[in-house]
Amino acid sequence: MEETTKRELVLSINGERRSIVARQSETLLFVLRDGLGLTGAKPGCLNGDCGACTVLVDGTPIKSCMMLAIETVDKDITTIEGLDDAPIQHAFVRHFAFQCGYCTPGFIMNAHALIERRPNADEATIQEWLESNICRCTSYQEIEAAVKEVLEAKKAKPTDP
């Protein structure tokens, strides 16, 4: 049997291939932050409760404190650093949907996935998705308003032929 040691992982992150030697038992969050310097995903509860560490894996929001980095080989990872002028980022600024900002990257990644995956999300769906993240500064109303604004704008925008 193979020994329990570090292994070289080649990960696809924000459109780039990044190589790193990591423990096989290491979480994606730790590898992103301490191994690759991508500190946008935040360590909060480290227990899957707060959502501050949310990133996208093949477009699906995932709490990176609860996924092994080695599981993401051959998958596309998107962190907050990989979003470039996404509508939800501007909406967060317009609605001042943060106070201390610690939860913001996780909220934005989850909200971005919701907008991409559920452009016709109803009230219940929006609430269900946003309940995955916790904001202790209680910016919930502003965050919800930002998400709804982007969803409405997306619906109003004519689809490409």
Binding site: T4, T27, M67, E131
Partner: protein, 280 residues
């Protein structure tokens, strides 16, 4: 961060997985089968789980099956709860799954993981109890199929080296009238005080509960009282509650007396919603 090292394996077939388990076991690695990994990772961080090897079953095609056949549904154990919600082949299971953790976590938590993990609520087991589902289990001696409820005594009784590959649900059972309620201490957050799942078939109510005891259960004695239409509803419910297995949970989420009070209320709601309140 996981404070110890383990090796990660990702077999592509059932036979590869069971052979790996046997080899790792011989090497003293105390391997664990790994689904969504959420519980293994979070409990490892607290030193409540320790292993030298995990075997990820998500690349095994049978574990990822989601087949809606003419007579039965096949639900792979490595399907995430979010995938089951979106496909919605079994509405009662969807309702139970939707109340587990949160939406993002359910992108990772698997059906098999929710049922086989250490956290004892195991709420997705309840719809499988009342639908009388079968479990397909792989292990060192091959693959076996058995009634899920027969193999579940407080927890799923798996032999060393065995893992759940799939669940099979009768399609007719998946469409029967049903009831689901989860009551927590506070709002929509936290573990259940009581979760109750019921299904009505041929005039008989099947009921299963989680949160009342430190294990989910379906009890023939409880169901006999619930279905005893010779007695008034209040007496049926009281007799059913008295017949719950013991111990009743008594912790920070709720006292034993309060849990039984909530369970009785939910049984009454269940009988009302399933149109079963009358006395004959």
């Amino acid at each position: 961060m996981v404070p110890f090292d383990f090796a990660y394996y990702r077999p592509q077939s059932i036979t590869e997985a069971t052979a790996l388990f046997a080899a790792l076991e011989r090497d003293g690695k105390r391997p664990l089968y790994y689904g969504g990994g959420t519980e293994i990772i979070t409990l490892s961080r607290l030193n409540l789980v320790r292993t030298a090897a995990v075997i990820d079953i998500k690349a095994i095609p049978e574990c990822r099956a989601l087949d809606v056949g003419h007579d039965s549904l096949v639900l792979g154990a490595a399907l995430s709860l979010a995938e089951l919600e979106e496909a919605n082949p079994f509405p009662l299971l969807t309702k139970a799954a939707r109340e587990v953790a949160d939406r993002t976590a359910r992108n990772q938590i698997t059906l098999g993981g929710n049922i086989c993990g250490q956290i004892f609520y195991r709420e997705t087991a309840l719809p499988l109890f009342v639908a009388e589902a079968d479990a397909i289990i792989a292990g060192p001696y091959g693959i076996r199929q058995c009634r899920f409820l027969d193999l579940f005594h407080q927890q799923l009784q798996l032999g060393r080296g065995e893992f759940v590959v799939q669940f099979k649900v009768d399609r007719a059972a998946a469409t029967l009238p049903h009831f689901h309620r989860k009551r927590r201490k506070q709002g929509e957050v936290g573990y259940p005080l009581v979760t109750i799942v019921a299904l009505k078939k041929d005039g008989t109510v099947r009921v299963a509960l989680s949160g009342v005891c430190p294990f989910p259960f379906r009890s023939a004695e409880v169901e006999a009282h619930v279905n005893d239409r010779s007695r008034p509803v209040g007496e049926r419910i009281q007799a059913a509650v008295d017949a719950f297995p013991r111990p009743i949970l008594h912790d920070i989420e709720g006292s034993a007396d309060y849990r039984l009070f909530v369970a009785a209320q939910l049984l009454e709601d269940m009988l009302g919603e399933l149109g079963d309140r009358e006395t004959v």
